[in-house]
Amino acid sequence: MRLIRYAFREGWTSLVRSGTSTLFSVTAIALAVAVLAAVLLFTTNVERWLDEWSSSAELSVYLDDGTTSDERGAIEDAIDVSGIAASREYVSKQEALARFRDGFSSLSPLAEGLDGNPFPASVEVRLAPGDGVEAALQALARQLITLPGVVDVQYDRDWLNRLAAGLDVVRRLGFLLGLLMALAATVTVAAVVRLSLYSRRDEIEVMQLVGAPVGYIRGPFVAEGVLQGGLGALAALAVLGAGFALVRSLYGTALAQVLEGLPVGFLPPVYWAYLILGGMVVGAAGGFVAARQAV
């Protein structure tokens, strides 16, 4: 406890005295943290959208014009038995046409020109959210297509899966880049701490000659790295947060339209804590490497 207090007090003095060189290491750590934070910001938001989308994902069962109500009943029974449907709704031919008109008003002259009603009736199934419904969904689709009265079965889960996989790749690449930058930041911190070790070599010699424990000699330099890391991470989060708020205030309404009400949020506080902690660990590593080489 005493050692920690001593180390941070001395580390802080040293940090303040190093001035410009400290700026380098703080910037290096800030860049690494900013990359990680940006990746996290992107992936957490897209993940939220994925959740939203998968909970609203639909299975459409298109019916033949001549489907009887018995046949429809059998189809609806099969859907209910499968257990993966949150709700289902029968959409008649007339409703399908009306929806088309509403959704594509610019195309409505096209619809006016049509002979009769080309839209099939369908049963729209809202799927229950959750993992592991894939197999059940495919089985259900295979079963439904064999039932009398069913013309086609469509479900839009594939693109969601592809998106999730793509997101995974982005996340991995982002973390890899962040890791590489963290490594570079460690090296930078080590170089900066080495400078401050050099400027305090008389003091270190005195410490060694009075028989100070190694922790007291190295501690201040590790603490200096930790402080650099914490400051860098804080700076990165502050800049990213400010940028986020700025984009939101400038383009908030336009963005909301593009995203059609999908939720957008900044990183949750737990992530801030992890990122700041990460910055401190990187700084500590740099400080320790430098101190260990010197003492």
Binding site: R2, V206, L209
Partner: protein, 219 residues
């Protein structure tokens, strides 16, 4: 207290900084190490502080062979030694009091005791009125007295000084020597390396004269 047996130190094979030194210093003694520049005075003191290891022979302090000390044992050993250098080696960013009190601080002495002890030794060297000053605000003689206070704060059994008056004018040098005499009178073994014959004559203690790493004369 200190015993060397055929002690030698070389940095390059065949070029001895210290050669075949056999010497005994009793507990409570005051001994000068003298000789021209390059004679090996500083080398002997560095060996005593265990900053370096002997190349040949043995160096024992209180019966302990310094070559066999582990890292924690070296720390423990050094805690019993005070040292003073020609260039003071004060920490510029610390006040006079902090320059002295950080020694007990890093050795785990409680805060109140750190300050009491530091103040005591600073008062003893006559600097109680300068405890808040920074080293650069002090004269050379005052800086060296701070360094002496720092050396004494742990109540060492052995005090080692390497050219402690090298940067001071003669009056101040005598003042510093008087401090050393008093320290010695309190029972501390004192070892001072200096090439200043005037000073040695003034103090009048046993003197080991080195030349090219060998003992040329003991007076």
């Amino acid at each position: 207290m200190i015993e060397t047996r055929h002690l030698s130190k070389f940095y390059h094979r065949g070029v001895y900084a210290l050669r075949d030194l056999t010497l005994t210093v009793e507990k409570g003694e005051f001994v000068f190490i003298t000789g021209p520049s390059g004679a090996g005075k500083s080398t002997l003191l560095r060996l005593l502080l265990r900053q370096e290891l002997a190349s040949e022979g043995e160096l024992l302090v209180n019966g302990q062979d310094l070559a066999t000390l582990s890292r924690p044992a070296i720390q423990e050993y050094r805690r019993g030694i005070g040292f003073v250098f020609q260039d003071f080696k004060l920490v510029p960013s610390r006040t006079v009091l902090q320059n002295v009190s950080f020694v007990p601080e890093v050795l785990g002495v409680p805060v109140a005791a750190q300050h009491r002890r530091a103040f005591q030794v600073l008062k003893w060297v006559g600097l109680q009125h300068r405890i808040g000053a920074f080293p650069e605000e002090l004269s050379g003689g005052e800086q060296q007295r701070v360094a002496i206070a720092r050396a004494l704060v742990n109540d060492p059994a052995l005090l080692i000084a390497d050219e402690p008056t090298g940067n001071l004018d003669p009056d101040l040098s005598l003042e510093i020597m008087n401090l050393f005499r008093e320290i010695n009178a309190g029972g501390t073994t004192v070892l001072v390396a200096t090439h200043d014959r005037e000073l040695i004559r003034f103090v009048g203690r046993r003197t080991v004269h080195l030349d090219q790493g060998r003992i040329a004369e003991v007076m």
